[in-house]
Symmetry: C2
């Protein structure tokens, strides 16, 4: 039976982890990005559909392609981050279900117009984006997730002619504490939850 992780692990994952706005010069290696995927990939999704697709934007050329899509307040920090991950999802994720969910004809559950798959792709791709944030923290990396960008421009620059759509962005690296904002409050249990 599982036990509670130790206090240091809970801090690193949740309690003292912070959204990072500045990063040190320490790079994120391709090996670390592979290890990150190999960890996050195990997180659960509906019918094991795993619709998320990830672009790890790392080279100056790819950063330059991303730049025009970013909001002003996200541009400087993203250009300076070792890696900016485009968390996206494939609206035709169901084409992989014969491999991913082989014991039933799960592809048939999602066949038809693409519009009918948007919600499942968005929900489960977003879950996988959260798994990426927490897997990064588990591996000793820091994350800076962002929604402030032009999705259509990112799709045109990175996913033109495909069924893949951008969702949100996550800067990755080793955080510089000087860039962290003061901790913001959270809703109390009673304001956000109830036991019925």
């Amino acid at each position: 039976m599982s036990q509670t992780l130790d206090a240091a692990a809970l801090d690193q994952l949740f309690r003292t982890a912070r959204t990072q706005n500045a990063f040190t010069d320490q790079p994120v290696t391709d090996e670390e990005l592979h290890a990150l995927y190999e960890l996050l990939k195990w997180g659960p999704t509906a019918a094991n559909g795993t619709p998320a697709r990830f672009v790890f934007v790392k080279s100056p050329e790819a950063k330059a392609r991303l730049k025009p899509a970013l909001s002003d307040n996200n541009t400087g920090k993203s250009m300076a981050a070792p890696v900016t991950v485009i968390v996206a999802h494939d609206l035709d994720f169901h084409e992989q279900l014969p491999v991913l969910f082989p014991h039933a004809d799960a592809k048939a559950w999602f066949d038809g117009p693409q519009e009918a798959r948007v919600e499942a792709a968005f929900r489960n791709g977003t879950l996988q984006g959260a798994y990426l944030i927490l897997a990064a923290r588990a591996l000793g990396l820091d994350a800076g997730p962002m929604s402030g960008f032009d999705n259509a421009k990112v799709d045109e620059a990175f996913f033109a002619g495909t069924s893949i759509r951008s969702n949100f962005l996550v800067n990755l690296g080793h955080g510089d504490p000087a860039g962290v904002f003061p901790r913001l409050p959270r809703l109390s249990f009673d304001d956000a939850a109830r036991i019925a």
Copy 2:
């Protein structure tokens, strides 16, 4: 600087963690549910909006209200689980932003018709649902997330007359290994990701 968590923690969070379909008789206490919220609440959301709302369905009466909304294959296991969490989100989450994001008029970014807030509420509420799954595992609980249910029926039974909408469900408890299905494959790095 953060280090990689130890192998046992990575296993518990991701690598050997499994979606549970059956649970032992060991209850989940109200104190554990409070501890779960107090951990997951720290996960990042856009503009600290934290739109997720959680109903921990635990009493026989509340389980009975949930039951008619469940798909056949999710009914038995959910009725037997110690807790079924309704992961929902408040479409009017922006009303809390003067408290949650006090240094700017973030509420104004989201004012206007509710339709314009649906995407942000769904994305960030889903992120918080993933934080709940991983926080549960971090605290030694097991999770069984599900999408197979009638959202409109759940909304009518639990959120009538409010701006809260159901997203997905998560059974919580201590998993019975006998109920776990064989591990399904995942996409390779090259099929789901690229370094640009």
